[in-house]
C-alpha cells in the first residue's frame, strides 16, 4: 500500500481517537433517528441505558440475555411494537408482537416457552380492532408453541398514543450444547440469509398510502423457531444468528463485525431481493440492505458447513429462498464491504437514522 503523507496520517489518527471515545448523547431531545436502529440508536442505548443499568448480561447488547438457572440455560427478551398502520398485507401488530419476541428467543437457540403481553391503548380505539389483534396474537402464539401467560393493560387519553402499542417479553430454554453469539463469529465463516429481504419494511411503507405505489408485496412476519430447529439439527457449526428487523441486514452485519472484530464481504448479486421490493427501493432511493424484515434471519456458520446449512434452511418452508451472501474475513476489523452487482466495491456502513427517500 502507498504510504500516506505525514499530516494526512495525523488527521486520520485524530479521527480514530474521536471514534474510540465513549458514546455521548449530544441532542437535547429524543428524535426519530434514535428509534431507527442505526448509529443514533446505539449512541442512545450506550450513553443512557448501558450507563445506568450496566451488568455483565446486558453488556454484550445482544437481542436477548442468556443466563443459567438451576442447571438450565434460559434466554429472556423484550420488544415493543408501535407499527403504523396496525393492519397491513401479510399481518398486523398482533402477530408481529408475538413473532418478534419468539424470533429474538429462537435466534439465541432457545425454545420459546412463555410470553407476556402489555397493551397501551388510546382512548377511542375500536374494540373490534382490539379483538382482531388479540385473535392474531393467539394464532401466532399457537403456531410458535408458546403461551401468553401474563399481561397488562393501560388506556391513555386520545392523542397520547397511536391506537394500540404492544410490548411482549418472552422466556425460552436453550438445550445444552448450543453456544451462539456475535463474538463466536470467525474469519472464514459463511454468511447466509434465510430468504428475500426487505418485504416487511416495503409493505409498511406502501401500506401507509403516501407513495401512491401499488404492489401485492406482503410482510414476511413469521416465527423462526422451526427454521432454527432444522438448521441447528443439520449442523453443529452455527456461530451466530440474528433476525434482521429494524435497520435490516446491513445493520446486523455491522453490529456483528464490530462485536467479533472481523470484516465481512457480501456479494450484492447473491442477496435475495424480490423484484417488487427492488423496484420500490429504486424509486425511493433506498437500499434494501437497510430495510426491515420480520421473518428473516442472518446466519453465520463455519465456512465448510455453509452447504449443509443452506440445504437445511432451504428444506424448511420459511427458508426456501435462503442464500449464502458472503463471508467473514480478518481485516480490517469492523468493516463491511459489498461487491456490487455492477462489479465495484463499496463500504456498507451503519445508518445514522432511518433511510430517508432522496430528492436526487
Amino acid at each position: 500500500m502507498t504510504a500516506r503523507p505525514e499530516r494526512e496520517q495525523e488527521v486520520l489518527d485524530r479521527i480514530e481517537s474521536f471514534r474510540r471515545r465513549k458514546a455521548s448523547l449530544r441532542e437535547e431531545r429524543v428524535t426519530m433517528a434514535h428509534g431507527a436502529g442505526g448509529k443514533a440508536t446505539q449512541t442512545l442505548i450506550q450513553a443512557v441505558f448501558l450507563e445506568a443499568f450496566r451488568n455483565p448480561l446486558l453488556e454484550p447488547l445482544e437481542d436477548q440475555a442468556v443466563f443459567a438457572l438451576n442447571g438450565s440455560r434460559l434466554a429472556c427478551t423484550t420488544d415493543s411494537f408501535v407499527v403504523s398502520p396496525l393492519f397491513f398485507p401479510g399481518g398486523d401488530v398482533g402477530d408481529l408482537a408475538v413473532n418478534g419476541t419468539v424470533n429474538d428467543l429462537a435466534v439465541a437457540g432457545a425454545r420459546p416457552l412463555y410470553l407476556t403481553a402489555g397493551f397501551i391503548l388510546e382512548e377511542g380505539f375500536a374494540t373490534a380492532d382490539l379483538e382482531r389483534i388479540a385473535g392474531s396474537m393467539a394464532r401466532a402464539a399457537a403456531e410458535a408453541g408458546v403461551q401468553i401467560v401474563t399481561g397488562d393493560t393501560k388506556v391513555v387519553q386520545r392523542g397520547k398514543a397511536d391506537g394500540c402499542f404492544i410490548n411482549t417479553s418472552g422466556i425460552g430454554v436453550i438445550e445444552s450444547g448450543i453456544r451462539l453469539g456475535a463474538t463466536r463469529v470467525k474469519p472464514g465463516d459463511a454468511i447466509l440469509v434465510s430468504g428475500p429481504i426487505g418485504d416487511h419494511g416495503i409493505t409498511i411503507m406502501l401500506a401507509r398510502g403516501e407513495l401512491d405505489l401499488v404492489s401485492d408485496i406482503r410482510s414476511d412476519t413469521a416465527p423462526l423457531h422451526g427454521l432454527v430447529d432444522s438448521l441447528l439439527g443439520a449442523t453443529g457449526e452455527v456461530r451466530c444468528m440474528r433476525d434482521a428487523t429494524r435497520g435490516g441486514v446491513a445493520t446486523i452485519l455491522n453490529e456483528i463485525a464490530a462485536a467479533a472484530g472481523v470484516s465481512m464481504v457480501v456479494d450484492e448479486n447473491a442477496v435475495p431481493v424480490r423484484a417488487e421490493v427492488r423496484g420500490a427501493c429504486e424509486i425511493l432511493g433506498i437500499d434494501p440492505l437497510y430495510v426491515a424484515c420480520e421473518g428473516r434471519m442472518v446466519v453465520f456458520v463455519a465456512g465448510d458447513s455453509a452447504g449443509e446449512a443452506l440445504r437445511a434452511l432451504q428444506s424448511h418452508p420459511l427458508g426456501r429462498g435462503a442464500a449464502v451472501i458472503g463471508s467473514v474475513r480478518e481485516d480490517p476489523p469492523g468493516l463491511v464491504l459489498l461487491k456490487t452487482q455492477f462489479g465495484g466495491t463499496r463500504i456498507v456502513d451503519m445508518l445514522v437514522g432511518d433511510p430517508l427517500p432522496r430528492i436526487c
Partner: protein, 374 residues
C-alpha cells in the same frame, strides 16, 4: 429487472473501463467533476471508481440540493415550523440537515409539526385535508424540482388555497458551476453535466463552459453505465482535441430542454439578486423566489422571518475541496470543528460528500478495499 439491469451490465462496464484506460494518457492526471449529487450517489452506490484507472479521478461537485442550503435558511424554516398552527413539509433527505440550531428532526422532537412529503402537490393535499393548519412547503432543489413547485403554486392559485405557502429555496445550476470555474486555481479537466436538471433546461446553458472556459461537458445519465460512458466521452473529447457540450443522456434529455417546464417556472418565480450557498458563499442570480403575483403563497412574505445569516466559519474551505484544489484532510477545520455530527460545509453535510466520506472511510484506501475483497 427490466430497465435497470440493462444499465448495470458488468461486461459492458469492463469494455468501457478498458476503453477509458486506453484513452487516459499515462503520466497525465485527469480530474472530472460530477456536478450533480445524484451522480455522486450512483458512483458511490455501485463502486464505479473501481473501473477507473488511477489517473482518472471524479470530484464531487456542488449539486446536492440539500447540502447547499445555508444554515440561516434552515433556521428560518425552523422558525416557521415553530409558529402555532403551522405544519412544515419537506423532502425526506432535508430532515437531517443541520442549521445553526439543529435539524428538522430536532424541531419535530421539540413539538413542531414537521412532515415528510414526496412531492409539493402532497404538501398542498396536506393543506386541503387540514383546513385548520397553515401548511408550508420547504421548496428546495435545482431546476429539476422547481417545475413541480411551480405547478403546485398554479394549482394552489386555481384552488384558491388559503392555508398553503411555499418557503422557496430553489437554486439554479449554472451560476454555481460558474463560481467554480471562476476560481484561478481550478484543477478540473471536464464536467459530467447534471442529467435531471438538463431534462428541464436542456444542454445549451452549458455551452459557456466549453467556449469560455475550454472544458468539455457531457450531460450524463444516472445509471452506472451512463457515468462510465460519459467519462469515456470526456476523455475522447480531450484525446481528439475537441471541447464541446455532448449529451450522453439522450433517452431522457432533449437538447433544448422542456419549454413547458421552463414556462411554469418563469410564470411563478424570478431570480433573486443573490443567494448564499453553504460552503460557497454568496452567488449572484443563483436562486429563485416567488413572483409578486404569488405573494399570498410566499412564506417569506407571510412570516416575519429572522433571516439571521449563520456565517460559515472562515476556516471552512469547502469551496477549495469542491474545486479539487484541496483534499478533505487538508482543510483547516476538517475533523476538528467540522465532523459528520457537527458539519460546517456542504462536503460534510451529505454522507456522500467528499469530506464525510473521507471522515468515515478515509482510513481505508481503495487499494486496501480491493485487497480485502479479493
Amino acid at each position: 429487472m427490466r430497465f435497470v439491469d440493462e444499465f448495470r451490465d458488468r461486461k459492458i462496464a469492463r469494455d468501457l473501463g478498458a476503453e477509458i484506460a486506453r484513452l487516459a494518457r499515462p503520466g497525465r492526471q485527469y480530474k472530472f467533476m460530477e456536478v450533480c449529487g445524484g451522480h455522486t450517489h450512483t458512483i458511490y452506490k455501485h463502486g464505479i471508481e473501481d473501473y477507473l484507472p488511477q489517473n482518472v479521478t471524479l470530484v464531487h461537485g456542488p449539486g446536492c440540493p440539500v447540502c447547499v442550503i445555508p444554515m440561516g435558511r434552515i433556521d428560518d424554516a425552523m422558525f416557521i415550523a415553530r409558529q402555532p398552527g403551522v405544519t412544515l413539509t419537506c423532502f425526506g433527505d432535508m430532515m437531517r440537515v443541520p442549521g445553526g440550531s439543529g435539524s428538522f428532526l430536532d424541531a419535530s422532537a421539540g413539538g413542531a409539526d414537521v412532515r415528510m412529503v414526496y412531492s409539493p402537490l402532497d404538501a398542498l393535499r396536506v393543506a386541503q385535508r387540514n383546513p385548520d393548519r397553515h401548511v408550508v412547503f420547504m421548496a428546495i432543489g435545482f431546476e429539476t424540482t422547481a417545475p413541480s413547485t411551480a405547478l403546485t403554486l398554479l394549482r394552489a392559485a386555481a384552488d384558491n388555497a388559503s392555508n398553503f405557502s411555499v418557503f422557496c429555496n430553489h437554486v439554479t445550476i449554472v451560476p454555481a458551476i460558474k463560481a467554480i470555474l471562476d476560481s484561478p486555481d481550478l484543477r478540473l479537466d471536464g464536467f459530467l453535466g447534471p442529467g435531471h436538471v438538463s431534462t428541464v433546461i436542456g444542454c445549451r446553458p452549458y455551452q459557456f463552459i466549453a467556449q469560455e472556459f475550454a472544458r468539455p461537458v457531457v450531460v450524463a445519465g444516472f445509471e452506472p453505465l451512463d457515468v462510465l460512458d460519459s467519462v469515456r466521452l470526456l476523455l475522447k473529447q480531450l484525446e481528439e482535441g475537441r471541447c464541446e457540450v455532448e449529451n450522453q443522456y439522450t433517452r431522457v434529455v432533449p437538447w433544448d430542454g422542456n419549454a413547458k417546464a421552463i414556462e411554469v417556472i418563469r410564470r411563478t418565480m424570478e431570480l433573486r439578486p443573490h443567494f448564499e450557498w453553504r460552503g460557497l458563499g454568496f452567488i449572484s442570480q443563483s436562486a429563485l423566489r416567488l413572483r409578486e403575483e404569488f405573494a399570498r403563497f410566499d412564506a417569506e412574505r407571510i412570516f416575519r422571518l429572522p433571516g439571521v445569516r449563520v456565517a460559515d466559519p472562515k476556516a471552512c474551505q469547502c469551496g477549495e475541496v469542491l474545486k479539487g484544489v484541496l483534499k478533505p484532510w487538508e482543510c483547516k477545520v476538517f475533523g476538528t470543528a467540522c465532523t459528520p455530527e457537527t458539519p460546517i460545509g456542504t462536503c460534510m453535510v451529505s454522507s456522500e460528500g467528499a469530506c464525510a466520506a473521507y471522515y468515515n472511510f478515509g482510513r481505508f484506501s481503495r487499494e486496501r478495499m480491493q485487497e480485502v475483497v479479493r
